[in-house]
């Protein structure tokens, strides 16, 4: 679709130029895209399972391991508070890890596919 074509009557403006369905299907089955998909999924899926499990473990410890959570670590600071703060720390850490992965591994691959497809429109 040419970018200067008038929008179809009665609908809102079409926005940016869209590649054809055939182009999307071709790209989806290309090795470059398979590589991008793998880079995203193999990082995001296991990490999601990991942080959800770690969070549930914390919830279960709060519920069923009162004695352990009451252990004093320093002064009045006990294990419960340390593990709670550890949830904050791991959240910040995972956000940072993912963003670094995305910037170095995902963005270049995504940008390459995007600019190639947009050149073909």
């Amino acid at each position: 679709m040419a970018t200067d074509a008038p929008p179809p009557e009665g609908t809102s403006p079409a926005g940016p130029a869209q590649p054809t369905t055939e182009a999307f299907v071709a790209v989806q089955s290309s090795p470059e895209f398979a590589d991008l998909r793998r880079s995203h999924r193999s990082f995001a899926f296991p990490l999601t399972i990991a942080f959800v499990t770690w969070y549930l473990l914390y919830v279960l410890l709060c519920n069923y391991a009162g004695g352990f959570m009451a252990t004093k670590v320093v002064g009045n600071i006990n294990m419960a508070l340390v593990l709670g703060l550890a949830q904050f720390a791991t959240t910040f850490l995972i956000a940072w890890l993912y963003s670094r992965h995305a910037a170095t591994k995902l963005d270049p691959k995504a940008d390459a596919i995007k600019s190639r497809m947009e050149a073909d429109v």
């Binding site: 009665g10 609908t11 809102s12 403006p13 926005g15 940016p16 130029a17 869209q18 590649p19 369905t21 999307f24 299907v25 790209v27 989806q28 089955s29 895209f33 991008l36 998909r37 995203h40 995001a44 990490l47 999601t48 942080f51 959800v52 969070y55 549930l56 919830v59 279960l60 709060c62 519920n63 069923y64 009162g66 959570m69 009451a70 320093v74 002064g75 009045n76 600071i77 006990n78 419960a80 508070l81 709670g84 949830q87 904050f88 959240t91 910040f92 995972i94 956000a95 940072w96 993912y98 963003s99 995305a102 995902l106 963005d107 995504a110 940008d111 596919i113 995007k114 497809m117 947009e118």
Partner: protein
């Protein structure tokens, strides 16, 4: 975020100590905030011309700006006053909420924010319906968006009445209704005039005020204890009268096996609900790219995380410097613990320092309520106009102008309905409404979002089963839970039809939502549209053709 436990119906034993004598100052600060935000709204309204301006703020916000606005949209008065109050009364257990609310952002960051930004346009329904038959799935997505947002909105409105009444020392029913109406009218003005642009700026201003106010009180409390956290905790524990148990989990949720199970259910709903909340999701459309959406979430995680860390100091600080009886006398759920602590740390009742701090904290709480209700109203009116009016009723034939006009009228209608329901609900236990909003978001929206983005064989039937199944099961389970009947804290304490023992339905309804989406797709006669999936998958990961 709305601490579900926080906003109980308040038998107003006593207005906040000192509130009435400082009323002129509090009202002046409230008024200053209202005038400033209305000014911003009118300014934003002048720049709102196209549908993309109204729905998505013209997609011109930076990652940092949107991160602030996301934080402003997410941190409700209940998390400010509610979590601090819950910590002040129940110690460690009050802190459990904030952990779930924060960890939840990782689901949004890793799986939802970027693909959504790349493949959608204005609403959550854009992504849910992308590969599906438009009309049924848009209807379902619009229904669940409006249900989640209205429950959430009601909780905020009812809470607003209670909180602002307490802070201003208003106890009459007429006064409370007036405040609910005022909040409703302001949110209608913000959204109809300013659209997403105005709402975003209001949320950004609110986030800055909230962080600054919390930082100030946190600093003053830490100063009092010479920055010795252990000393602060020790004083809180002994002053609470509960000893070291105050610093350990269990005072609130460890009562019996049912309450422990309820805590697991709540934890799952919190952690999976956030990434399915429509008013949060539409915020990602306000930035130009997926990278900016990622940056927004990172800023939001930083800001929200820092805020929740400060509420720990605020809550334990309140427990350390106030008497438990005074906190409970002011508000049974502890909602006024933070303002009371501000009054105390500023020099106590009657002092100028105390008066100023109390007024500042009260104004921040009010700003917080307004920014959150504006975001919720925008999410539901956008979904009505874009999903239901433009795509279902007008079958995609509505012009941009007609669509925005429909959105503005929907805002007025939703505003009026919320004022009415909010006035009726002002004495109800709103805890159930918020728990319900999170549970519905996690059961009805999240499975469909994830399947749509990542599962090739997902079908229209799967989407419909999952959305309606998750919606119906969570609503029904809450209806038959102790939230609604059987307990003194229930909405209807005098009757008992509560056969479901848990207050939060998530433990059942979330797995059910996922299961229904899967089974519905597998036994569907209609095969998944693989061409459409190719489009969605390539778009979502690369941003090709993104609006």
């Amino acid at each position: 975020m709305s601490a579900a436990h926080a906003l109980y119906p308040t038998v107003q034993l006593a207005a906040t100590e000192g509130a009435s004598e400082h009323r002129p100052l509090i009202i002046t600060l409230f008024a200053a905030f209202v005038v400033a935000t209305l000014f911003i709204t009118v300014w934003a309204g002048r720049q709102t011309k196209s549908a993309s301006d109204f729905y998505a703020g013209g997609r011109q916000f930076t990652g940092f700006q949107n991160g602030l606005a996301v934080s402003g949209d997410y941190m409700s008065a209940a998390s400010f006053l509610g979590i601090a109050g819950a910590i002040a009364l129940f110690g460690y257990d009050g802190f459990l909420y904030s952990i779930g609310f924060l960890v939840a952002w990782l689901v949004a960051l890793l799986l939802v924010a970027e693909p959504l930004r790349n493949s959608g346009r204005y609403t959550m329904g854009d992504v849910l319906a992308y590969r599906m038959r438009q009309r049924p799935v848009r209807t379902a997505a619009g229904t669940s968006t409006i249900v989640v947002s209205i429950f959430y909105l009601l909780a905020q409105m009812a809470g607003a009445g209670v909180l602002v009444s307490l802070l201003l020392g208003i106890t009459s029913d007429a006064g409370k209704i007036l405040i609910v109406a005022l909040v409703g009218i302001l949110m209608i003005l913000y959204v109809t005039i300013g659209g997403m642009k105005g709402t975003t700026w209001v949320q950004m201003v609110k986030a800055v005020l909230l962080i600054a106010g919390t930082l100030l009180i946190t600093f003053l409390i830490l100063l009092k204890f010479n920055f010795n956290i252990s000393d602060l905790l020790g004083t809180a524990a002994s002053n609470s009268g509960k000893g070291t148990a105050f610093l350990e989990p269990g005072l609130k949720y460890g009562v019996d096996n049912i309450s422990k199970l309820d805590f697991i259910s709540l934890g799952i709903a919190l952690v999976l609900g956030t990434a399915g909340l429509p008013h949060i999701l539409i915020r990602f459309y306000t930035v130009p790219t997926a990278k900016a959406a990622r940056k927004s979430v990172n800023w939001a995680i930083g800001i929200i995380g820092a805020f929740y860390l400060m509420t720990i100091v605020l809550g334990f600080g309140a427990a350390a410097i106030l008497k438990q009886d005074d906190i409970i006398a002011s508000n049974k759920a502890g909602n006024t613990a933070a303002p009371l602590a501000a009054l105390e740390i500023g020099g106590g009742s009657g002092s100028t320092g105390g008066a100023i701090l109390l007024a500042v904290i009260s104004a921040v709480a009010f700003a917080t309520i307004l920014a959150v209700v504006a975001g919720l109203t925008l999410a539901s009116s956008s979904s009505f106009a874009h999903d239901i009016y433009a795509n279902v009723i007008r079958k995609g034939q509505a012009t941009e102008k007609e669509e925005v006009r429909a959105a503005r009228w929907a805002t007025v209608a939703i505003g009026v309905v919320s004022i009415g329901l909010g006035a009726l609900a002002r004495d109800l236990n709103v805890a159930g409404l918020v728990a319900l909003a999170f549970a519905v978001a996690a059961s009805a929206n999240l499975p469909t979002i994830l399947y749509s983005l990542f599962w090739k064989r997902f079908t229209t039937q799967g989407a419909l089963w999952s959305i309606y199944g998750g919606l119906a099961s969570s609503v029904l389970l809450v209806l038959f839970s102790p939230v609604v009947s059987s307990k003194p804290t229930s909405m209807f304490p005098d009757v008992d039809f509560a056969w479901f023992p848990l207050e939060n339905p998530g433990l059942i309804s979330i797995p059910l939502g996922f299961l229904l989406g899967w089974v519905g797709s597998l036994i569907s006669k209609e095969k998944a549209d693989t061409d459409k999936y190719a489009e969605l998958e390539v778009k979502s990961l690369t941003g090709v053709g993104a609006h």
